[in-house]
Symmetry: C2
Subunit: 192 residues, 2 copies
């Protein structure tokens, strides 16, 4: 990677941290300039507009999520072990400072039509499909009942993680992760 | 109620609708003025600052939530019927245009220290306590097992509603509410 790519990645990382605090909608070329040592005109050279900046930060977050959560989890044995690996990696992701930026963005932009919302919808659909597929692998393996509802599981697991996020980050409840793991156990027991 | 109170309530309702779209952090005296027929100086007479406006809109939302969800649900018979009534009223609340403004705000402000975050934390703690208390009534009534974990249930139910919110509002999935009801049935079955 050349120096330009390095700089761009450093800016995206700084922008991601800022968005983790103020939300993607609070992320502007101006707020980013005051956080980094780069000038507004320098930032405009990398990102043509506020929307472009937000889209690229989101895409950068999704790439990291795929690399840190999805890809490694798919190396676990198919079925229940893979579901558990996906969950643990997702939990670690949601526990990082700032929490999961895609979750926050999903609540921020659900009523704001435009390219960013379209991108969020596409990525969340992909994510629900990934959970559904990984769970369905457990039906094929005989770990879960043949009539277990993989789509229902995807919505339920999303709920477990959202509630963990809220309970740990907003309420500061130290038992949030332990409860989230018990919720997963209950879901898998019901599906068995 | 005098004319002043009426006007204030109308402004708060308009501000609440705007915040439902752009988030509480996007709600400013300026954006509100361009939505209503009131001048910025007129709005400043009602709300001294952007933060004051945000706090009052949030307080107004919480009052409505108590009146439309909590208070009527507490009139249902204690135990499982009251849990179900609370859930159905909460589901109807989260299904209104704009979704649940407190949920959105919880994800928006979880990393922004200040009076609004403190208020959100207090109100979410109260809400978790309400769910916990309503569920615990079902243990006393013998509807749920004596060792059922009411706090676990509160976190799980919060997750069911958060996942409904995301699945219906962002993904536009028409089955989101039916799945949320099945999630509640599964939680109550596991607690029985």
């Amino acid at each position: 990677m050349g120096k330009g790519t390095d700089t761009r990645n450093e800016i995206l990382a700084a922008a991601g941290r800022l968005a983790g605090q103020v939300g993607l909608s609070g992320l502007t070329i101006g707020t980013l300039a005051s956080r980094t040592e780069l000038s507004k005109s320098g930032l405009f050279a990398h990102f043509g507009s506020k929307q472009d900046l937000q889209l690229q930060v989101h895409a950068h977050n999704v790439e990291r999520f795929v690399a840190e959560v999805i890809r490694p989890a798919l190396r676990a044995p198919r079925g229940e072990p893979r579901v558990r690996e996906l969950f643990e990696r997702w939990l670690a992701w949601a526990s990082m400072p700032g929490g999961c930026p895609m979750l926050a963005a999903s609540f921020e932009f659900d009523d704001q039509p435009g390219p960013l919302r379209e991108r969020l919808v596409r990525d969340q659909r992909d994510w629900f499909d990934t959970i559904t597929m990984v769970f369905a692998g457990g039906i094929t393996e005989g770990h879960f009942a043949p009539d277990a509802d993989a789509r229902q599981f995807a919505q339920d697991l999303e709920g477990v993680m959202l509630a963990f996020h809220l309970t740990s980050r907003l309420l500061g409840d130290a038992d949030a992760a332990a409860r989230a793991r018990r919720s997963l156990d209950a879901l898998l027991l019901a599906a068995a």
